[in-house]
Symmetry: C2
Subunit: 149 residues, 2 copies
């Protein structure tokens, strides 16, 4: 079964930067994923979270949500980030949580498209919060391609 | 004197993620900054560069260019990334180079604004390349504020 712990183990094994970020999985219910980072390894010169860490967390959370869907359907794919718009809304002074969700209809459409065509795109929004304040918001588009294509 | 080696030493001391990225300074001529990352610590599940690493490099390169200008004028400031749009154009299979420049007129306007008002914004574009292919482009806006404000 491809679940949240499989995802995080895979990320930590194949993307070494996730270990430096100290990325952890928090929750996945089939349509929403929450990943989290502690502040200490992600601090900046001001003592709050480095924007690059927050953006990496958001990128991984959108990627992870789609990767989980592909894994549940046992669809092998190379999943790439294609473009993103990121707004940094406030400094993060605590643990950072990133949340990304899609409706069952959007998930089904994406996975059916990919299963049929071997290529599909998904646009998702990721929201990062710290100490109950929204600190960063990202609109991101990903593309899934047949492995090695 | 606040120069490229001062900048990179400051980044590596105050932003621990830059050590995980293995960030290095390559060149600075007063108007253009080039920073670089090796592939190995920044690889992803496909064996090319993690998008989050490329975006962090681009974020740091824009930030670094403005930080150098502030440092040259001995203007203390808290410099924050405010928003960014990032296009991932191609996978990066080698060392990644990020380049960011501003004209002397744009640099002077930003620094004079900041010196007079204690707050200024700058919009810059950062281009990342690998093996002579442009792999990532970012439009980023930064804001400089009086320290601790």
């Amino acid at each position: 079964m491809f679940d949240l712990s499989t995802l995080v183990a895979e990320m930590r094994e194949t993307i070494p930067l996730t270990r430096a970020l100290a990325l952890e999985g928090l929750r996945y219910d089939g349509n929403e994923l929450i990943l989290t980072l502690p502040l200490a390894p992600n601090v900046n010169d001001k003592g709050c979270a480095f924007g690059g860490s927050m953006a990496a967390l958001a990128t991984l959370t959108g990627w992870g949500l789609i990767r989980l869907g592909l894994g549940e359907r046992r669809l092998p794919a190379d999943l790439y980030i294609q473009d993103q718009q990121t707004q940094f809304l406030a400094p993060a002074w605590q643990q950072i949580y990133a949340r990304c969700s899609w409706t069952q209809a959007d998930k089904d459409t994406f996975l059916n498209n990919y299963a049929q065509r071997g290529k599909a795109r998904a646009s998702v929004e990721i929201s990062c919060s710290s100490d109950d304040v929204e600190v960063c918001r990202m609109q991101a588009r990903y593309v899934a391609l047949r492995p090695g294509s």
